[in-house]
């Protein structure tokens, strides 16, 4: 489904990704953990080409997408993204946030787009909030709208960049519930998150990144209970405490 093959990325002198290779199967949920600055977000952003890799290949459904003749806009329609800071369009209502991509990118007629957007808002439990502006919603509600917005384009996979780390504790549950349901429905997901409960119960694999490399990967149990690397052990120890 998603294949990252030998990807390098430098920002000036900073070598952020130092040869990353990952394969994510269809319907698989992969959680990426690691200290800040380890390149987790950058890895996620190379997958939908918000960041262009300097070296290496990204394949979506077997299609090599980081080539000049592939439009990044097309790639981004295939892979939805949810941001840490929600990034809902401030000037649009919840409904219009979900509608915009459908109308502009998929060229769906407004009426059909609204119908679909309402279904998606209902799916994330926000049917009654369609007329609210982002500033009128709680963080958890905003993030759920953001998930609905990304789902609107029927992506083949979803990327979550620390979706709950900007949330007040009381709102984390509702967002994780939506994500868990999504995983149950068979969505392919790559999630950067330190929510251990979510990672243990939903993730099929955990990747531990450090200094631009995937240092260790395995099923949650392995990584959390019997990490092989000293770095993994010390990091897991810190976040489990």
């Amino acid at each position: 489904m998603i294949e990252v093959d030998g990807v390098h990325k430098r920002f000036g002198a900073l070598h952020v990704l130092r040869g990353i290779s990952v394969k994510v199967e269809r319907g698989e949920v992969v959680v990426v953990i690691g200290p800040s600055g380890s390149g987790k977000s950058t890895l996620l952003r190379t997958i939908n080409l918000l960041v262009q890799p300097d070296e290496g290949r990204i394949l979506i459904d077997g299609v090599h997408v980081n080539r000049r003749d592939v439009r990044p806009e097309w790639v981004r329609q295939q892979v939805g993204m949810v941001f840490q800071s929600f990034n809902l369009f401030t000037h649009l209502t919840a409904l219009d946030n979900v509608v915009l991509g459908l109308v502009r990118v998929k060229k769906v007629p407004r009426e059909n787009a609204e119908r679909k957007a309402r279904q998606l808002l209902a799916r994330v439990g926000l049917a009654e909030k369609e007329r609210a502006y982002p500033a009128e919603l709680s963080g958890g509600q905003q993030q759920r709208v953001a998930i609905a917005r990304a789902l609107a384009l029927d992506p083949k996979a979803m990327l979550f960049d620390e979706p709950t780390s900007a949330l007040d504790p009381e709102y984390i549950r509702e967002v994780l519930d939506v994500m868990t349901n999504l995983a149950k429905d068979g969505m392919t997901m790559v999630v950067v998150s330190h929510e251990m409960g979510f990672a243990s119960s939903v993730a099929k694999r955990i990747l531990f990144m450090d200094a631009g490399l995937i240092l260790e990967e395995g099923v949650p149990e392995e990584i959390f209970q019997r990490p092989k690397h000293e770095r993994t052990r010390s990091f897991v120890g810190k976040i489990l405490r």
């Binding site: 939908n48 918000l50 990044p72 806009e73 097309w74 790639v75 981004r76 329609q77 939805g80 993204m81 941001f83 800071s85 990034n87 809902l88 369009f89 401030t90 000037h91 209502t93 915009l100 991509g101 502009r104 990118v105 009654e128 007329r131 609210a132 502006y133 982002p134 500033a135 009128e136 953001a146 917005r149 990304a150 384009l153």
Partner: protein, 288 residues
């Protein structure tokens, strides 16, 4: 369930006190204007038929001149300002620095000097082929005066560029990223995401700048542009040689002051209406 509408109204409540303060301000302005008008009516000759018989010609020319300049300068300066402000936040270096030079240049030189400069030398600066092709039948004086008005528009455009730049820059980067992540093209995310927010944020300072440039048209008097203030000084010249009372100038200045006030008031009100019309929770100016 509390509707968004209800919540918005509730949030506006504290504004009532500010609105009351604004009303006090407006009343004070109105009071001053009233004193001026009463003075003009009772002590000077604003209602005097003879006064208007002589002044009216100057007044009419001046009024239409001023309205013409305003109608020309506001759209031109707004367009120049918008494009320059946009260029200043562009990814493309070739656009950024010419825009920056433009802004620094026009912001750093007094309008009056630029106006006189343009008036005196504009015909010399326009290349001969263009002169021949476009302005062959235009009197040189008209070219000079319009060049001066254009320079005034550029001057205001430089200020408006900074307003629009601030508007663009106050749209968080995440908004653009979210649009990109949805697969929107560059121009789509500009049109549907960045512009609507940037323009909302630009409206309040823009109203201010429009008020400034409306009053700045009076500087065109320096080059005998046919506008309210210039025509009033012409009229003063007539008074001086014809034996009519110089106190008539009180009435003249009152009239043109009121007209400038009326114009700036109207334009700022229009922008205020736009501001309210497009107000969105989360995008309003902060109340401190």
């Amino acid at each position: 369930m509390e509707t968004a509408q209800a919540r918005r109204t509730r949030r506006r409540e504290p504004v009532l006190t500010r609105r009351a303060a604004a009303h006090v301000g407006e009343m004070a302005v109105g009071g001053l204007a009233l004193i001026l008008i009463l003075q003009a009516v009772f002590r000077f000759s604003i209602l005097d038929g003879t006064f208007w018989f002589y002044y009216f010609r100057f007044f009419r020319t001046g009024l239409f001149g001023t309205l013409g300049y305003v109608a020309f300068i506001i759209p031109v300066s707004a367009l120049v300002g918008f494009l320059t402000g946009w260029a200043r936040v562009s990814r493309h270096r070739v656009l950024v620095w010419p825009a920056a030079v433009f802004v620094d240049f026009f912001r750093g030189i007094p309008q009056l000097i630029m106006i006189i400069f343009a008036f005196l030398f504009a015909p010399d600066f326009i290349p001969q082929p263009i002169m021949d092709r476009l302005f062959a039948n235009v009197p040189l004086r008209d070219i000079s005066v319009n060049a001066a008005a254009f320079v005034l528009a550029l001057h205001s455009g430089a200020y408006q560029a900074e307003i629009f730049r601030a508007g663009f820059q106050s749209v968080p980067k995440g908004q653009l990223e979210a649009a990109q992540a949805l697969g929107m093209r560059g121009w789509q995310s500009m049109r549907d995401v960045v512009l609507p927010q940037a323009l909302r944020l630009s409206l309040p300072p823009l109203g201010n700048e429009f008020a400034v440039v409306i009053k700045d048209t009076s500087l065109l008097a320096a080059i005998a542009g046919a506008e309210l203030f210039g025509k009033s000084t012409d009229f003063r010249g007539v008074l001086a040689i014809s034996g009519f009372p110089l106190t008539w100038m009180f009435a003249v200045l009152t009239v043109i002051a009121l007209i400038y006030f009326f114009m700036t008031f109207t334009v700022t009100r229009i922008l205020l209406v736009l501001e309210r019309r497009y107000s969105t929770p989360g995008l309003e100016a902060m109340s401190i």
